[in-house]
C-alpha cells in the first residue's frame, strides 16, 4: 500500500488556535481547505499515536499503517460529520474501528507464530519479577498483558484509565449502553490487574 509517511515529511501549517475543530472540519468539507485538514491532523496526531503505540506497539510499521488508515478514513467520511457531537468523538469512533481491525489482524498473524519466533509479548508467557530490570521490560509486560484482552476492551480500558476519558464519551464513541461499557471495563480491569500480578509487574 502507498504510504503517507516519509522521512522529514511534515505538515506545513502552523498552529491555528483560533479555529475550533468543528470549524476546521467545516472548512475542509465545504472548501476542500488543505490547511484546515493539516491543522486537524496536527492537533490529533499526538493523541492518536499514544493510542496506537499503546495498543499496536512497539511495531512502528503497524502504528504507521493504522494511523494512515484512520486519517484516510477521516478524509473519506468527514462528510458524515454533522456537528451534532464533538469532532473528537467522531474521530475516536473512526480510530476505534481501524484500531480494532489492526488488533484482530495482529492476533490472527501471531496465531501462526511459535513461541520461539515471537518471544516478546507472547500471550501467557510468564516473566518473573527478576526479569523486570528496566522501564522497557516493564512496559513490554504491560503491553503483553493488555494485548491479551478482547480488542474492544483494550480500547475502552486504555481510553478510560490511560487517557482519562469519561463514561459518557465512551458511550458516544462506541454507541453501546453505559451499563455494557461499565461491565466491560470492570471485567477488563480485573483481568488486566490479575495478569499483571501473575507476570510479576510491580510499579516502581
Amino acid at each position: 500500500m502507498e504510504s503517507a509517511y516519509r522521512a522529514g515529511a511534515a505538515t506545513t501549517a502552523g498552529p491555528e488556535t483560533a479555529s475550533t475543530d468543528e470549524e476546521l472540519v467545516g472548512r475542509f468539507r465545504e472548501h476542500s481547505d488543505r490547511e484546515a485538514l493539516s491543522e486537524l491532523i496536527r492537533r490529533y496526531t499526538p493523541r492518536l499515536r499514544r493510542l496506537l503505540y499503546s495498543l499496536l506497539g512497539p511495531d512502528d510499521d503497524a502504528v504507521s499503517d493504522a494511523e494512515q488508515e484512520v486519517y484516510v478514513s477521516l478524509i473519506r467520511r468527514v462528510g458524515s460529520f454533522r456537528g451534532d457531537a464533538r469532532f473528537s468523538t467522531f474521530f475516536y469512533s473512526l480510530a476505534r474501528n481501524r484500531t480494532i481491525d489492526f488488533i484482530r489482524a495482529r492476533t490472527r498473524d501471531r496465531a501462526h507464530l511459535t513461541l520461539s519466533e515471537n518471544p516478546d509479548g507472547e500471550p501467557g508467557r510468564f516473566v518473573g519479577p527478576e526479569r523486570l530490570v528496566d522501564d522497557e521490560e516493564r512496559v513490554s509486560l504491560v503491553r503483553a498483558a493488555l494485548h491479551r484482552l478482547a480488542p474492544e476492551d483494550q480500547f475502552l480500558l486504555y481510553l478510560k484509565d490511560g487517557e482519562g476519558a469519561g463514561l459518557e464519551e465512551l458511550v458516544e464513541i462506541t454507541g453501546r449502553p453505559s451499563g455494557t461499557i461499565k461491565s466491560r471495563l470492570a471485567r477488563a480491569r480485573r483481568k488486566l490487574a490479575s495478569r499483571l500480578e501473575e507476570m510479576g509487574y510491580e510499579h516502581e
Partner: protein, 122 residues
Amino acid sequence: MNTNDRDRNTVARALGELRARAKRASQTTPQPDVDALLAIARAPEAHSDARARASRLQPRLAAAAALAVVAVSALLLVIRPSAPETDPASESIVGLVDSLYDESDYLDGVWTSVLDELESTP
C-alpha cells in the same frame, strides 16, 4: 484498600507507564504527509488492506457470534425465571464466555453479543 481499588490503581499506573512510553515513541515518528493522505483517500477503497482483512474475518465472527447468541439466549430462558436479583446466572455466563475468550480472540464479537443480550433482557 479493597480489591477493586487495588486493581484500579494497578491498572491506572500500568497504563500510565504505557502511555508515557507511547508518547516518547510517537515523537520520533515523522508527521503524516497530508498530500499523500489526500491522494490515498481519493483512490478506490477496495485497496485498503485492513478492510480486506476485516472482510475475511467477518464470516467467522458472524458464525461464532450467532452460535453463541443462540446458546446464551436458550440458557437465559432456562435460568432466568428462577434467578434472584443478584443474578448468578449472569456471572456464570460471564465465566463461560471468559473461558471461551481465553481460547481465541476471535470471540470478541461473541462477548459483545452476550453483553448486549444481557443488557436487553428485562
